[in-house]
């Protein structure tokens, strides 16, 4: 459990270092995700771990545990809204409308392009 957590922290730290060193516009944790996925890919090529058994490893259980409570991790940032009521000000309603319409349109466009290209390839 502690080792698995250390793996996640080391990947995040390595992601931060790589991102800063190469001045990439990608945050450290996302680069850390790529690094860990690449590491797991390499490990499976050597036969050390298979996709089927990853979930029963300590790393797999720690990852599942974290992802099961992913929602709560956004609470502190979400509560930050109380500081920004003033900023929303006179454009609050227009912005809300823009977000609702844009999110709906984006969901529909994305899902249909995904399905359309899937079917076209089949």
């Amino acid at each position: 459990m502690l080792r698995a957590f250390a793996v996640l922290l080391v990947c995040q730290l390595a992601g931060e270092v790589v991102g800063r060193a190469l001045a990439l516009p990608i945050p450290g944790p996302v680069l850390g995700l790529v690094l860990l996925a690449a590491g797991l890919g390499l490990a499976s090529r050597h036969g050390w771990v298979t996709p089927a058994e990853i979930e029963s490893t300590a790393l797999g259980r720690t990852a599942s545990g974290l992802l099961a409570v992913l929602g709560i991790l956004f609470v502190p940032a979400g509560v930050g809204i109380i500081q920004q009521f003033g900023l929303l000000g006179q454009y609050g309603l227009a912005l809300l409308l823009a977000l609702v319409i844009s999110t709906a349109v984006t969901l529909v466009v994305t899902v249909y392009v995904f399905l359309g290209v899937s079917r076209w390839l089949r």
């Binding site: 944790p29 996709p51 991790l73 912005l95 409308l97 994305t110």
Partner: protein, 238 residues
């Protein structure tokens, strides 16, 4: 009367109180969500943010004091993002099989997310500097704030718009996809991760692990694409 007040003054300033409040509020909200059969409107994040924000406003607690406790939860966002590598690895063959649909959906969806928000807001008379802060609203908060700041937008405003977009997508995705009759969880997850970043991804993981995996990939890819697209659109179109 002074003793309980002194106790409150002491506790209200400690990280322990606000960390405990955050965790308990989430457990209560998540229990409500579970009791509702994970109804999309009973979103645990929405309930928790509303409850905690109301409590802070009612007690006159500054956000900085709250964050001193809540930062321990906030910190875990980084390791949790890295942890998405595990379901990614687990579902790798499925991901490879969907590489082309994902790429096409990324380009179409990423462009739509930026352009549609700007079009609606601009037509409603929202001024230029607010539009700049709005443009990266589908991107995960850390990068969205960086993009906005680089273009002269207000990062704090971007953060609020990003979180609102996450909540709107998380609440909207299940009824919308059901109404459209779409049962492909890879496609559904990819759409919500692209439109609503980590908050959409959190919702996707509560619905289906494959949806969660594709949401996580879409979140990462759209962050990359938008870091390039938003500055181009803002400079050329706005």
């Amino acid at each position: 009367m002074t003793a309980p007040f002194a106790l409150w003054t002491y506790l209200a300033a400690t990280p322990l109180l606000w960390l405990t409040v955050t965790v308990l509020a989430w457990i209560a909200a998540d229990a409500l969500a579970q009791a509702s059969g994970r109804h999309p409107l009973v979103n645990p994040l929405l309930l928790t943010v509303a409850g905690v924000a109301a409590l802070l406003l009612a007690t006159g607690t500054p956000y900085g004091t709250y964050f001193a406790g809540a930062q321990f939860v906030h910190f875990l966002l980084g390791p949790a993002t890295v942890a998405i590598a595990v379901p990614l690895f687990r579902n790798w063959p499925l991901v490879v099989r969907h590489a082309l649909p994902m790429l096409a959906a990324l380009l179409a969806g990423g462009l739509t997310a930026i352009a549609s928000a700007l079009a609606v807001a601009a037509s409603l008379g929202v001024p230029h500097d607010v539009l700049v802060a709005l443009a990266p609203k589908s991107v995960t908060a850390g990068i969205a704030m960086g993009i906005s700041e680089g273009l002269g937008g207000a990062p704090a405003l971007t953060a609020v718009l990003v979180i609102a977009t996450g909540l709107i997508g998380a609440v909207m995705v299940t009824p919308l996809m059901n109404a459209l009759g779409i049962r492909d969880y890879a496609a559904r997850g990819f759409a919500v991760g692209l439109a609503s970043h980590g908050i959409g991804t959190a919702r996707a993981f509560t619905v289906d692990p494959v949806a969660g995996t594709f949401a996580g990939i879409a979140m990462g890819l759209n962050a990359l694409l938008s870091a390039v697209l938003v500055p181009l659109i803002v400079r050329w179109v706005l």
